[in-house]
């Protein structure tokens, strides 16, 4: 159980401004090994921005990010991914004209041989790598939807929104990350579908050793069921932190939500 306590991610005073808007304001937080953190707050409170700063899409204007003992504050997106952070996007960002398999393999970048000469001349080894990874992607996708796993070479653009979300999660999980960032994964899903999706994510977590998750979600039932801890943001500031039950009954939080919606 000692390993359970290992800190995976730390924000210290993380700040990001867009012109006059302070999207993140001195955000402090800590995430331990295997923990699922719910990040909640009204629209525009900085949830997505915290993902974007963490993954290197935006630079921080202040503060620091530590991941697995390394200061990754100013790392480019590629390096953050290499270190073991994978994500989905609030507005699905799949390559619609590519196949399911292609899209998942984009997420598998660091585990594939990207050498020019390997790819062009060692066709036999490449073929084996393709087949092995295909099998692995199929197994992963099967957890989410067995029917999808049989359509690996269909274009993603032909699929329903729910299926696209599932594929986006598979793209993030295929590289065995240490930290998974889910930005409103259940947007547009029914309660039943949301429930299924979360069960699938929990199932996958059992398979990947020590996977921590940060979940941005509006569906409070889902937050209550799966998170170990919640953080509430409002105007870029952390206003509350604790178990869902405590957070939900917090006065400030109720005000923020009533004021925001």
């Amino acid at each position: 159980m000692a390993q359970q306590q290992e800190t995976v991610l730390t924000f210290r005073g993380l700040t990001r401004r867009f012109g006059g808007v302070i999207a993140l304001n001195k955000f402090d937080m800590e995430l331990t090994n295997g923990q699922i953190l719910g990040l909640i707050g009204p629209n525009g409170s900085g949830k997505t921005t915290s993902f974007n700063v963490l993954t290197g899409i935006y630079e921080a204007n202040g503060g620091s990010i530590e991941f697995l003992g390394q200061d990754i504050t100013s790392w480019p997106a590629q390096k953050v991914y290499e270190a073991g952070v994978a994500r989905t996007f609030q507005r699905s960002r799949l390559c619609l004209e590519l196949s399911i398999f292609d899209n998942i393999m984009i997420g598998n970048h660091k585990r594939l041989n990207q050498g020019l000469l390997f790819n062009i001349f060692q066709r036999k080894a490449l073929k084996e790598q393709i087949q092995e990874n295909h099998e692995e992607a199929r197994k992963l996708l099967k957890i989410f939807d067995p029917a999808l796993a049989e359509k690996m070479f269909d274009p993603v653009g032909s699929l329903r929104m729910i299926d696209r979300r599932r594929i986006e999660i598979c793209r993030a999980l295929i590289s065995h990350p240490r930290l998974l960032l889910l930005d409103e994964p259940s947007a547009g899903m029914t309660h039943e579908e949301t429930r299924e999706l979360m069960d699938d994510i929990l199932e996958v977590r059992e398979m990947i050793d020590g996977l921590s998750i940060i979940l941005v979600e509006h569906e409070m039932g889902m937050i209550e069921r799966v998170t170990d801890k919640c953080i509430v943001l409002n105007f870029g500031q952390k206003i509350c932190e604790g178990a869902y039950r405590d957070v939900a009954s917090d006065k400030l939080v109720q005000e923020a939500y009533l004021g925001g919606e």
């Binding site: 993954t55 290197g56 899409i57 480019p76 997106a77 590629q78 991914y81 290499e82 994978a86 994500r87 996007f89 960002r93 799949l94 390559c95 619609l96 004209e97 590519l98 196949s99 398999f101 292609d102 393999m105 984009i106 997420g107 970048h109 660091k110 594939l112 041989n113 990207q114 020019l116 790819n119 062009i120 066709r123 490449l126 073929k127 393709i130 087949q131 295909h134 199929r138 690996m152 070479f153 274009p155 793209r171 590289s175």
Partner: protein, 383 residues
């Protein structure tokens, strides 16, 4: 009849029809006849599409890729053999083949990776001038072709920083400026012949002079252009193999990811700069090799061959054929190079017609006439 036998027959028949059509098209001179042939072909294709025949042929082709490749090579050889004694048709065929190579280069840049390049003719031109300058030295000419590509790639590296820094329209403007600069540089540079240009010595392979007709017997003298056609065809096949291998590997996937969504690509470790540089360099290399052989074949080059309009023609071939589509590139290169030679109307209103066709394509069929399909890593394998 089994499915596989039927597929094979369909492919062989298709290759034969294409060969016969190409021969007729190149051979006839009468404007009305050419026009009638084109209308007939268009009707055939459109009718076939309506009846679903085109789709079923496409499936047969997809199931038998190897046979298809060989059938089309055989068809090309048949067309070439038909015109074995005629200079002009062979020159046109070789030109189409070399344009195919240059456009494959552009396809890597633009079709796969989304890196625009409106200076394709300039990189083709670097290959040409490499051949002109090195042709008289003792450097083996096969090596000169390779050097044409390498020097084009090196010259292209000047553009790498602006290409990486800018996107969309700005990148287009940067490459257009480079193309104009290249032409102006040639015009004022006397060692490179200035506006008058330079003579280029012909290809010579281990003592085999490409610029001599090949006398087989008293009544069969094969045009010297046959040498160039054969070498160009070999280069096309090699280019094709390279393109296919790139497309069907992680490299092709990275290219696509960079083109479609740079932010998502970066979030999954894809080094945007690296792949843009690889695509840009490789594309210019291909254009340069094609240019080197083209110059040897023509025997003479001048700056006016490398105008902005020539770069536009290369881009229009890529768009017309379908971005990233290899067979599309071949079909479009054939149409764009041959049609103006065959139809005088087009000759006169060439750019007007190009402009109209490009606008129509972009409006109504942005994926091109033979759209690129999904990536089939291993032909025939679907897990």
């Amino acid at each position: 009849m089994t499915q596989s036998l039927k597929d094979k027959l369909v492919i062989i028949l298709l290759a034969a029809v294409i060969a016969a059509f190409s021969i007729t098209f190149i051979a006839i001179e009468e404007q009305v006849e050419i026009f009638a042939l084109l209308v007939f072909a268009a009707a055939l294709v459109l009718g076939g599409a309506k009846l679903g025949i085109t789709a079923s042929i496409a499936q047969s082709l997809a199931r038998n890729e190897r046979l298809m490749n060989f059938a089309f090579i055989a068809a090309t050889i048949a067309v070439v053999f038909w015109f074995r004694e005629d200079h002009f048709p062979l020159l046109m065929i070789a030109t189409v083949l070399l344009y195919v190579i240059a456009c494959c280069g552009l396809n890597i840049q633009f079709g796969f990776t989304g890196v625009v390049n409106f200076a394709g003719a300039a990189f083709f031109g670097v290959g040409c001038y490499t051949a002109a300058v090195l042709g008289d030295t003792s450097v083996p000419l096969l090596l000169v072709i390779l050097l044409g590509g390498i020097i084009a790639a090196i010259v292209g590296s000047v553009l790498i920083i602006p290409v990486l820094r800018t996107r969309g329209h700005y990148a287009a403007v940067v490459t257009i400026a480079f193309g104009l600069l290249f032409r102006t540089f040639l015009e004022v540079n006397d060692t490179l012949g200035g506006p008058q240009g330079l003579g280029v010595s012909g290809m010579n392979l281990f003592g085999w002079d490409f610029n001599n007709n090949i006398e087989i017997s008293e009544n069969l003298e094969i045009s010297f252009y046959m040498n160039y056609v054969v070498l160009a065809l070999i280069m096309v096949v090699l280019t094709f193999v390279l393109m296919r291998r790139i497309e069907r590997s992680w490299i092709g996937l990275n290219f696509d990811a960079v083109r479609l969504d740079e932010t998502a690509a970066a979030c999954f470790g894809i080094n945007i700069k690296r792949w843009k540089i690889v695509a840009f360099t490789l594309g210019n290399f291909l254009a340069g090799t094609a240019g080197a052989l083209y110059a040897m074949m023509l025997g003479f080059i001048a700056p006016s061959n490398f105008a902005f309009s020539d770069s536009l023609i290369l881009v229009s071939i890529v768009l017309l054929g379908g971005m990233g589509s290899l067979w599309g590139t071949i079909l479009a290169a054939g149409l764009v190079v041959l049609l103006p030679e065959k139809l005088q109307v087009i000759q006169e209103y060439r750019f007007l017609i190009y402009a109209v066709v490009m606008i129509l394509i972009l409006l109504f069929r942005p994926q091109g006439i033979l759209p690129r399909g999904l990536r089939a890593y291993i032909p025939g394998w679907r897990g």
